[in-house]
Amino acid sequence: MSTDFDAIVVGSGISGGWAAKELCEQGLKTLVLERGRHLDHPSSEYTDFQAPWDMEHRGMVPELYDEQGRYLMLKRKGWTYRNEFIQFFVDEKDHPYSYPEDRPFMWTRGYQLGGRSLTWARQSYRWGPKDFEANAKDGHGVDWPIRYDDLAPWYDHVEAFAGISGAQDGLPDLPDGDFLKPWEMSCAEDFVSANINQNFDDRHMIIGRCANLSETRDVHTSLGRGTCQSRNYCMRGCSYGAYFSSLSATLPAAERTGNLTVMADAIVSEVVFDPETKRATHVKVIDYHTKEERLFSARVIFLNASAIASTHILLNSRSETTPNGLANSSGQLGNYIMDHFGHAGANGTVPGFDDRFEFGRKPTGIYIPNYRHDRREEQGFHRGFGFQGGARRSRSTHSGTRAGIGAEAKSGVGDWQTWSFGIGMFGEMLPYADNTVRLHPTKTDAWGIPLAHLDCHIRENERKMIRQAEIDAVELLTAGGCTNIASARTPDDEHVLVGGKTHEMGGACMGHDPSTSVLNAWNQTHDAANLFVTDGACMSSCGTANPSLTYMALTARAARHAVELLKEGQL
């Protein structure tokens, strides 16, 4: 196998897949390095054709894992702790990281080809102009060196290929795009949405935009992708390729160019930098199984290992000239770690639809985008939050957790419940320089690499949002026509686990100024022009909308720029 390529992409998840596709389609011989195992698509590890009774242990994770202290953080996550897709998540016992004892951080990872693109929630929203302006307006974090208009054509580009379903909602803070037909709201959601839209000028409830093919176009079918079957089993892997993942879409597109080489079980420990040419020249790879070290070289290198992992690789790329890590001349590498946070919401019942039902399990819910931009004076906090949720109607069941036995206990089981509706907040964490990832000073992993040490917590601005979001959630459900409303929020004195939304961002932020940021407006490191970081690490703020579509757009834009620079002989 050659060790010299035009381009190297580190990581094969959402953004790594896009980098591979764009670079290969532009004619670059590209090596994709994945630290996890190889997976085919469809894979024998997919469990999407299993009915509940066919699933091993009926979906319950073996208790032995508990006894061995495995998957403790995934268990804490709750709903993802299921046996049918646990194979797509990392056990921190095998791959540890660290955090202060009183401030745990939830780092959810997927070490397999395709990474977390197999298990993402597929919610796909453009960020709006205000999201890119927020840092400049309120002075928190580093000003984004780009604005919405810079990214808009790239949103078009990635939406067309990925296949995003959504309605043309006409909301200025949540731009529309090139969407497939939207998923239908349920009758209960339609009712709540109409009431909210009637009662508020600034709050809108729309159908969630998601990367599930509600219909197919040639660009999808040419890759063997089929229409979503409304199973909502996406996290088990989709044999139809109906949701966007690296395995179903970008890597097959890259492969058909003949320019792609994929290497799994390849742990990138560092990027090698030549101080004379000021170029990244190689990546050092440790074989997962043999621990053998190899060097691979390329003219351009894309880091797409995820926000924490890409930052971690740069921090670990230490040399005489880069003692604090590569691309860290600003001293800002590893700073401004962010995540969305929840911790407030409400639910209620939706009266009046007891004779109406839904068939199928749509793969998305509803979305209430952030309506609290630019209201610092009035509300007492910067930025804002949105809500995600949905309505459902299910049959009564009995989990054995209440009193009653025999025919009495069975009576009512299987009866239709009334429609319920619930929403949970997605808040924007401010970028704090001292929310950090660092190399652990003493602890290393099984491959001798220092552990990532994460030290992050929310502050009073976020606490104020949580308090306000609970109030707003009740207002929204009340205005929406719900009854029996109950709300909840995390108490002020309880630690909010950063990373809980799996939207970790920052660590190598984009900015204008090399003295205050790590990346420029094209995602090139200020210190090595041929080194790009286009995953969540590059984000200078975290907005309130799910970030993956923005990673895709930034990656495609940066990859095309890299190719142009190569053609011009600048790299």
Binding site: F49, A51, P52, W53, E56, H57, R58, G59, M60, P62, E63, L64, D66, E67, W183, E184, M185, S186, C187, E189, D190, Q229, S230, R231, D355, R356, F357, E358, F359, G360, R361, K362, T397, H398, S399, G400, T401, R402, A403, G404, I405, G406, A407, A409, K410, V413, G414
Partner: protein, 181 residues
């Protein structure tokens, strides 16, 4: 051992004459591999008392305890194994204390009454009075296994193929029929 109880629980002795020395089989002919016959019989009876066959299937129909037996081999940790042991031991001890009888030798109406009392006490506010250990845990397992079985989910559709959010019950049932495998 009470052969009538075993039959009620969907279990038959695999051979005559040596009852407890031999593995039990279900009506499908599959043997228990983890639970000894006496434990399997008690658990099967309890499951059938908790979830009897009515107009819908019961725990015996869904072979709930046979599935639990497999879970014990491949899924359960030491804690769950001990809890089930505790449950059976304390159920037997309580039956002996109250009725001077082994649980399985009690008449059906008495077993039902006994379990109703245990159930009520186990979900009361005063947990100091809980007479049988780990009852709630065993109940949860039985209900979970039963209600995730195929027979207990007659309108489950694995591949709906479409989503529609506003249909009548008749249309819903027609869609289930069309798309059920």
């Amino acid at each position: 051992m009470n052969a009538g109880v075993l039959a009620t629980a969907g279990i038959v002795l695999s051979a005559c004459g040596r009852g407890e020395d031999l593995p039990l089989e279900t009506t499908l002919g599959t043997s228990f591999e983890y639970f000894p016959p006496h434990q399997a019989a008690i658990l099967s009876d309890v499951a059938d008392m908790l979830i009897p066959q009515t107009e819908t299937v019961g725990a015996a129909d869904t072979e709930t305890i046979l599935y639990l037996d497999q879970l014990m081999l491949k899924w359960a940790g030491e804690r769950t194994k001990l809890e089930i042991e505790d449950f059976i031991d304390s159920l037997e001890a309580e039956a002996l204390a109250r009725y001077q009888s082994n649980y399985l030798n009690m008449p059906e109406d008495k077993r039902k009454e006994f379990l109703q009392e245990i159930d009520a006490a186990s979900f009361s506010e005063n947990l100091d009075t809980v007479p049988v250990k780990s009852y709630r845990r065993v109940k949860w397992l039985i209900f979970h296994i039963h209600y995730t079985s195929e027979a207990a989910n007659p309108d489950f559709v694995l591949i709906p193929g479409q989503y529609t959010g506003n249909v009548s019950e008749a249309d819903y049932l027609a869609l289930v029929d069309e798309n059920r495998y």
